[in-house]
Symmetry: C2
Subunit: 313 residues, 2 copies
DNA sequence: GAAAAACCATTACAAATGTCACCGTCTGTA
DNA sequence: TACAGACGGTGACATTTGTAATGGTTTTTC
């Protein structure tokens, strides 16, 4: 019954099924399959990690729906998905799970192209996405800086890039380069230009929203020095999307290093089909408001606490 | 934050989210929400029961896929979904879970009409279907005999009939009546005829396959006496779909009580868009083979063990 | 072909989860 | 007012799940 090459996931699917669908205990499963209980535990762990099993929370009537409505109305959004708040260290994990569930349920049967922005939350969303064996999904990045997508993965096989049968199109370049000139040249490279054009066709785009602070992923990655950060703040910057900073009204700042970024421009982002912002946490509220005022995102995924601040502000 | 009337599910969604997505322990959840741990356990139970949370098993590469292919080829099916086998008493539960997951993943974004046949497995499928708040789903029955759909539910609010925002169209009649004449009159009733016509439009139809034995749900419900059963067996009957018996080649038997059934006929079933049979267990193998030979179903959902018998036979 | 690494069973223990019996509170009813 | 019944908290206990240490076996690597 076991198959040579597919043994690995064969076992995983089987264990996951027995545990989550047939509601057998781990001990029963171990006995039945001739494994140690410890092994069953490990396999189940991997199943959750790698999306062999995924949990969906369906609210039949209302949950944060009340709040969702308020946020949608107040900010003229297309859609909002608001999930229960968790404590700070876990916020991004939580939002990643939220983003993934949102995407999964909004995936149509048709061929879909998913666009992904840069950042920790986005990367976590990617991580939580379950392998969708039966769906035709391709993915494309909206910026350079591939490493950021990989930071939250454990091993190679567990890499989101491999989760999809279909293509993963990555802009082959760093996110930020040293000279505007280099940047221009990279953007003109056919291989790069091709992917950025492809990105325009994405059906769903997920972007993170970066706050204006020293502990933002963006600054922590060393893309911005603390002096530069100060300058940006002086110019009224409140946050960034795809590395591009804007003020509280959402106007893109006119700063040097925007010319050194390899990323889809905010202008182009505005023309895309469905841009979803995933962000939350007290320190991001101003950044989110700016993004909303700038009209860069159509839908917002966030947590309760943040959402409350967005409607009360 | 809590809302008067929606308190009930509000809490449920919150607890489920914290447990399954944020991976908090029950104790943490209890503390955070000011509940007893026992309560959290109960709420989680209800969440699983009522589909507030649902588990999906996604096989990235292969699982029983090998077998699925074989079954599809051998019987010229459109699709097959084969899940790990469990021990006899749990078979139907398992198949119900399988049926539900299959439907959920095959639901398109568009308005969908689901048709449901009669029987225990079908009823369990219905029970496992998660409330799909964002999907437009209507349901329609293919036969009389409403009670069968309710046998596996616990309380009123937990009733599948209420799971769907949208309409649930039920043929208002018993499954079997005493005289062919009564039957004819019922079928001519506009209210009945209307729904049976509607059923023709179903995008997906799920039917059970009944075996030819005294402990089949059909006989246990008292629709058939043991003498009648014997007669049917003598005539070559191997199983039934929607109360209609057929022989091993799938030819519908010519027996009296088919004229007393309020159900979509097998002939009409054959013209439907996508008919899915859900059935498994050693005692059903012959019935399933008959159904396959008769061409009554396009796709089959079953378990490994049964599938093996189907390809080896 | 030997050392290193990966894998897995086993065991014992710790933590989380599930069950139960008991109790108080609140609500509707006679 | 009294009483029944639903609900939910509490604490003891049983079961299940998770973790870590040990040791044997297989696979990889040089």
């Amino acid at each position: 019954m076991a198959q040579s090459n597919s043994d690995y996931s064969e076992l995983h699917v089987r264990v996951a099924w027995y545990y989550y669908k047939a509601e057998m205990t781990q001990e029963e499963i171990a006995t039945r399959l001739g494994l140690s209980r410890a092994r069953v535990i490990k396999v189940l762990d991997q199943c959750r990690q790698e999306g062999v099993v995924s949990f969906h929370i369906n609210s039949p009537f209302t949950n944060c729906l009340q709040l969702e409505k308020q946020v949608i109305d107040r900010w003229k959004l297309r859609d909002a998905f608001i999930v229960p708040a968790v404590d700070p260290p876990m916020i991004n994990r939580n939002l990643g799970a939220a983003g993934a569930q949102y995407i999964e349920r909004n995936l149509s049967k048709e061929e879909t192209l998913l666009g992904f922005g840069w950042g920790n939350t986005v990367s976590l969303t990617l991580k939580h996405l379950s392998l969708m064996d039966h769906q035709k999904v391709s993915m494309v990045t909206l910026s350079g800086g591939i490493t950021a997508y990989l930071q939250n993965t454990y091993r190679e096989e567990n890499n989101p890039l491999f989760k999809f049968n279909s293509r993963f199109h990555i802009i082959p370049s760093p996110l930020l380069v040293s000279f505007p000139n280099t940047c221009r040249l990279i953007l003109e490279e056919p291989e790069v230009a091709r992917i950025m054009q492809l990105a325009q066709l994405a059906n769903i785009v997920v972007v993170g929203i970066g706050p204006m602070s020293a502990n933002a992923t963006f600054t922590q990655f060393g893309y911005i020095t603390s002096q530069e950060l100060e300058i940006l703040q002086k110019q009224g910057g409140v946050g960034d999307i795809l590395g591009q900073f804007y003020d509280k009204d959402g106007n893109r700042l006119d700063v040097d290093f925007h010319n050194r970024l390899v990323a889809v421009s905010l202008e182009k982002l505005k023309t895309m089909q469905h841009v979803i912002g995933v962000a939350g946490g007290a320190h991001k509220v101003e950044a989110i408001k700016g993004a909303l005022r700038g009209g860069y995102i159509h839908s917002l995924i966030t947590d309760e606490k943040t959402a409350l601040e967005l409607v009360q502000g």
